[in-house]
Symmetry: C2
Subunit: 303 residues, 2 copies
């Protein structure tokens, strides 16, 4: 297997693009795809100040690494969810990586924020644990972006994440979600930073290869609470389709953005400020403050 660009020994075969590449040419390929996505979807300008949400996984560490490499001002936020060994390891990898690239990293601990770790919360919330965790992470990202005057929040969602969610939204015809499933969620309130997904057009496999080639030491494990999640199942389904017909994932995603997304109406919601914390919300007090007070009440009762 030889590199299509230089004829040297290839390290990866990309069936969707019908090429094999050596390590330097694969890195070039990967970086070009990310910077082309940033340009095509107008994700960033060089004036933006970016806060990258880093979990310690390959995608978010790659995002931080690459945004800095491409010349953007990018700091990072890690949310320590308190999920036993998993969170400890995730935090360690993130801190080591920040040190290595001399990046500014802020850590926020769930336990300090709401008084509970995620496993504790999961026991109380049952099947809603993943939804609650999502709510908390979105809130903390928005708050930290506002406090640090960041204009953009970057997440590590890759093509596999995006197509799995797209397929799920189509199977259930979630019209509002389809309307706003974009690599760019513009800021629609002065207190909310825009949200961007620079890795939206590279696959999970490409992202893993890029991390390994750049000696980025990341956490391999999925969150223990995500076992059996629909998104993971649908990723497997899309991998079967990709195996049978290479290139389907990228076509499915790109053509959705180009031709179809605008057909689905975006839900426009009016925002006001939460009387408790001051952050924008559709239904004040905001979901995070409501969650916090609910948790405190429950805790009071159970004592």
């Amino acid at each position: 297997m030889k590199c299509k660009k230089c004829g040297e020994k290839a390290v990866i075969k990309l069936r969707a693009h019908n090429i094999s590449l050596c390590a330097p040419h694969f890195q070039e390929f990967f970086e070009r795809r990310v910077s082309e996505a940033i340009k095509k979807y107008s994700l960033l300008s060089l004036h933006d100040k970016i806060l990258v949400a880093v979990s310690g996984g390959k995608d978010s560490l790659n995002t931080w690494f690459l945004l800095k490499k491409l010349g953007y001002k990018a700091d990072a936020l890690h949310i320590d969810l308190g999920i036993d060994e998993y969170s400890k390891k995730s935090r360690e990898k993130t801190e080591k990586f920040a040190h290595k690239i001399k990046g500014n990293l802020k850590i926020v601990e769930l336990k300090e924020e709401v008084g509970f770790t995620l496993p504790h919360l999961a026991k109380r919330e049952g099947r809603k644990a993943c939804a609650t965790c999502g709510l908390i992470k979105r809130y903390l990202m928005n708050r930290e972006a506002l406090n640090g005057s960041y204009s953009a929040i970057a997440t590590g969602h890759n093509l596999d994440d995006e197509t799995a969610v797209l397929l799920s939204n189509l199977l259930n015809w979630k019209m509002g979600y389809l309307g706003r499933q974009s690599p760019l969620l513009p800021s629609w309130h002065p207190k909310l930073a825009k949200k961007i997904k620079p890795l939206c057009e590279v696959t999970e496999r490409e992202s893993a290869a890029y991390a390994i080639l750049n000696q980025i030491d990341y956490i391999y494990e999925d969150c223990p609470f995500s076992q059996g999640a629909t998104t993971i199942f649908l990723k497997g389904i899309l991998n079967q389709i990709e195996e049978k017909s290479p290139g389907t994932k990228i076509r499915f995603y790109r053509e959705f953005q180009q031709k179809a997304r605008s057909l689905f109406e975006e839900e426009k919601m009016s925002l006001s400020e939460c009387p408790t914390c001051g952050l924008p919300t559709t239904h004040p007090p905001c979901a995070f403050c409501r969650l916090k007070s609910r948790l405190l009440q429950k805790e009071g009762k159970s004592k």
Copy 2:
């Protein structure tokens, strides 16, 4: 396993509907679903004169059987493609069934129409054989409907067929196809009958069970040329999704029809009459007459 309606021994479990049913109650269920689809999608009135395209498979035979049972005027057309044993068996089953239900059946032979059987055509057309076969069948159905003054052509497409095509059209964002993927394709020229799919909301498995319970002797085999077809692959994919989350197929299809289909623009094409055969076409002479003359030319050359 007991019937949810009467407590007798159930013969089938329908996970999508969370019920088990005995033979008579399953038949009632199946017939109600078909007649409800006919009503909901305004497929037919009792004034319609229907030509059912019957292949000899469970779905088309069920369609004919059930339309007659529901009180509609329904005759049938079988196209003998000349695919060796497969076509012989299909034709035999169709003829026996027509005799059993005392139905009017017309048989058209591909060999007589274009001078070649399908295997012969497939050798000449290569990978396009399925597309060519589709073109031929559509043409002959339209022609026979016109000649017999039928107002509707019914086909046996079931929920599995429809969702597999829907998924394929979404993966490739075929906007025009999505706009017209409907159980009802209205007549848009005086010489074209409307096309309807009465079984669109029952699954392949339900259709097989209905045929067996009604002692309808049908051909089990798929067309030998359909091996490896994308539709068959995507049916397998959707079965995996259905297994994990029962009810997905019917929801995916129904909500597409209710909420999404109208968003995709239907391709409006102007029709004129073919100077050779007189049937409506977008690009005269019609594709069928062009195919015929192409085949005749090739045959002349190869002699």
